[in-house]
C-alpha cells in the first residue's frame, strides 16, 4: 500500500522561533507510526502542521495525493484527518453524547447513532455517562471521549497527541490496546506522538525520533527498541546514564 501522508521538508515557525527544521516523514496507509522525542522537540508542531492549525513556511504536506498545507483545520478534518490534541480538548459544557455528535458534525449520513454505539463499545465507561457534562469526567474518561469523538469523523488518518499523558499505567495499557484495535478493526492509519517511548514502540509499526526540530532516527519499532541510544535515553535502561547523572548534579545545586 502507498503512503497516506507524506511530509517533505516541513519548516514551521512560532513567530521568529523555528520549531521544525526540515522534517520529512512517510505515513503508510493502514499502519501505526510513532513519533518520539523529548519535550520541545517539535512533535506537537508536526501534528499541528498536518492538521492545518499551523502553516509551514516551507515544504509540503500531501494527504491522499493532495497537497493540504496551509488549509484551514476544519477543511482538513472534513477530509478525514482527525486530530486528537494534547490535553483532552473536549467541549466542557456539552454532554458526552453531544460531544460525540459534534464529532460527526461534518457528516450527513444516517449512521451517526450507530457510530456512537460503536464508540461506546470501545469505551464502555462512557456509556454510563452519556448525559453528564464532559467537564465532570475524570482525566482518563475525557481522553477516551476525545478519542471517541475523533472516531465519529470516520477518519482515514488519526493524529494522536500524547494520549497517555497523565494517565495511570493501567489506563495507558488500555488506551494502547484500543489504539491497536482501532488500527486493525477500523483500518485507521495512526500517527502517534508520545513521550512514553515504551508504549509508543510497543504499539507502533514504524517509528521516527525527533530532536530539536529534526528527525534524527527512523526505523521499524522493533529495531528501534533494540537501538542502544533509544534504550539509554528514552527507555531508561542504562543505569546512571550520562544525562541522568548530569540531571542529578543539577538537582543537588538547587538545594
Amino acid at each position: 500500500m502507498g503512503n497516506l501522508l507524506e511530509l517533505r521538508n516541513i519548516e514551521t515557525y512560532y513567530g521568529p522561533v523555528m520549531a521544525i527544521r526540515g522534517v520529512s516523514m512517510d505515513i503508510p496507509e493502514g499502519k501505526i507510526v510513532s513519533l518520539l522525542g523529548a519535550n520541545g522537540a517539535g512533535k506537537t508542531t508536526v501534528l499541528k502542521t498536518i492538521s492545518g492549525a499551523m502553516e509551514p513556511q516551507k515544504g509540503s504536506v500531501t494527504y491522499a495525493g493532495q497537497p493540504i498545507q496551509g488549509k484551514d483545520p476544519d477543511w482538513v478534518a472534513r477530509r478525514g484527518v482527525a486530530h486528537v490534541p494534547e490535553g483532552r480538548e473536549v467541549f466542557p459544557f456539552l454532554s458526552v453524547d453531544e460531544n460525540l455528535q459534534m464529532g460527526a458534525f461534518s457528516r450527513s449520513d444516517n449512521k451517526i447513532r450507530q457510530d456512537i454505539d460503536m464508540v461506546y463499545s470501545y469505551f464502555p465507561i462512557l456509556k454510563d455517562l452519556t448525559k453528564s457534562q464532559a467537564v465532570n469526567l475524570s482525566g482518563g474518561q475525557q481522553q477516551m471521549l476525545a478519542i471517541g469523538r475523533a472516531l465519529m469523523l470516520r477518519p482515514k488518518l488519526m493524529l494522536l497527541d500524547e494520549p497517555s499523558l497523565g494517565l495511570s499505567p493501567r489506563l495507558v495499557q488500555e488506551i494502547s490496546k484500543i489504539i491497536q484495535r482501532l488500527n486493525s478493526e477500523q483500518g485507521v492509519t495512526i500517527l502517534l506522538v508520545e513521550q512514553n517511548a515504551k508504549m509508543a514502540l510497543n504499539v507502533g509499526h514504524y517509528g521516527y525520533v525527533m530532536e530539536v526540530g529534526r528527525i534524527v532516527m527512523e526505523d521499524s519499532c522493533a529495531r528501534l527498541q533494540q537501538a542502544t541510544d533509544i534504550q539509554e535515553f528514552y527507555l531508561g535502561m542504562k543505569e546512571q546514564g550520562v544525562r541522568g547523572r548530569r540531571r542529578w548534579k543539577q538537582r543537588k545545586t538547587w538545594r
Binding site: D72, P73, D74, A77, V90, F91, F93, L94, M102, G103
Partner: protein, 289 residues
C-alpha cells in the same frame, strides 16, 4: 397598585436592555470580542423598520420578519468585512473598531433618516390592557411577549439544534471545534447575524415606546451594564440583568430625587462588582492559557 404598575413598566423596559445585552453576550461568548456598536445596530434595525412601514407602507407583520432578515444580513456583512480581518489583533483594537462603527452608524442614520425623532407606526399602539388597577400599554405588552418568545426560541436553538450545539462547542473550545470539522469562521458570521437579528427585534419592539432618533443606541451602555450584572457570558444572566436594571430604574425614578433614575443602572453595576464581581450567573470557567 402603583408598585405593580412600576414593576410592569420596569420589566418591559428591562426586556429591551436584556435583548441588547443578549447580543453583547452572544458575540462575546463566541468570539471574545465586545461589540460596543450593539446599541447602534438596534437603532439601525428600528430605522429599517421605519423605512419599511412608515415610508414604503408595508404591512407590519411583513415588515417585522423582513427587518430581522435585513439586519441579520447586515450582521454577516459587518463580521466578514470588519471583524474577520481583526482576528488575532489585540482586544483593544477590536474595541476601538466597534466604538468607531457605532459613530459611523449614528452619523449615517442621521444623514439618511434625519435627526428629528420619528415614531414607528404599529397596529397596536395606543391600546391598553387593564389588570386590576394597573394599566399596560399594548406596546409594552408586545415587548414582554416578544422577549419571552425570542428567549424560548433561542433556548430551543442552542439546546436542541445541531448548529446551535455546534455554536456552543465552538465557543467552549475553539481548537477542538476546528479539529472535529466545525466551520468555526462560518459560526462567527452566524453569531453576528443572530445578535444583529436580536437587536433588530429589540429595535422594533422599543420603537413605539420611545421615539426613534439616531442616538437611541446609547441604551447600549445600560445594556452593557446589564450584561455585566448578569455575569458577562451568561445568556439567561443577560436577560435577568436587563430586567433587574429596568425595574430598579423605574423605582428609583419615583422614590428617589430626579436624576437618580438614569444613574441607578450604574450604581447597581458598581454594587454588583463589589459584592459579586463574577455577576449573577457566573458560567465562565477560568480560561486556560
Amino acid at each position: 397598585m402603583e408598585v405593580l404598575q412600576l414593576f410592569i413598566s420596569g420589566i418591559s423596559q428591562g426586556c429591551v436592555y436584556g435583548l441588547i445585552a443578549l447580543g453583547f453576550v452572544l458575540i462575546y461568548k463566541a468570539t471574545e470580542m465586545v461589540n460596543f456598536a450593539q446599541g447602534d445596530i438596534m437603532m439601525l434595525g428600528a430605522y429599517v423598520a421605519i423605512t419599511f412601514i412608515n415610508i414604503w407602507d408595508w404591512p407590519f407583520y411583513w415588515a417585522f420578519p423582513a427587518t430581522v432578515l435585513v439586519m441579520a444580513a447586515v450582521g454577516v456583512v459587518l463580521e466578514r468585512v470588519l471583524l474577520r480581518p481583526m482576528i488575532g489583533e489585540p482586544h483593544f483594537a477590536v474595541l476601538m473598531l466597534t466604538i468607531g462603527l457605532g459613530f459611523v452608524l449614528r452619523a449615517a442614520a442621521g444623514a439618511i433618516w434625519g435627526n428629528e425623532p420619528r415614531a414607528l407606526q404599529t397596529p397596536y399602539v395606543g391600546e391598553v390592557l387593564r389588570l386590576g388597577e394597573a394599566v399596560i400599554g399594548y406596546e409594552n405588552l408586545a415587548i414582554i411577549i416578544g422577549t419571552t418568545v425570542l428567549c424560548f426560541l433561542m433556548w430551543v436553538f442552542f439546546r436542541f439544534t445541531r448548529v446551535g450545539i455546534a455554536m456552543q462547542a465552538a465557543s467552549q473550545n475553539q481548537l477542538a471545534a476546528f479539529y472535529v470539522g466545525i466551520p468555526v469562521k462560518r459560526m462567527y458570521s452566524l453569531v453576528w447575524a443572530l445578535s444583529a437579528a436580536i437587536a433588530a427585534v429589540a429595535g422594533i419592539l422599543t420603537a413605539p415606546v420611545s421615539l426613534v432618533d439616531p442616538l437611541i443606541g446609547f441604551v447600549g451602555i445600560k445594556a452593557f451594564a446589564a450584561a455585566i450584572v448578569g455575569g458577562f457570558g451568561s445568556m439567561p444572566g443577560a436577560i435577568i440583568g436587563g430586567l433587574l436594571i429596568g425595574v430598579v430604574e423605574q423605582f428609583a425614578g419615583l422614590y428617589l430625587p430626579p436624576g437618580f433614575a438614569d444613574m441607578s443602572a450604574y450604581v447597581l453595576l458598581l454594587v454588583m462588582l463589589v459584592i459579586r464581581p463574577q455577576g449573577l450567573f457566573a458560567t465562565m470557567q477560568k480560561k486556560k492559557v
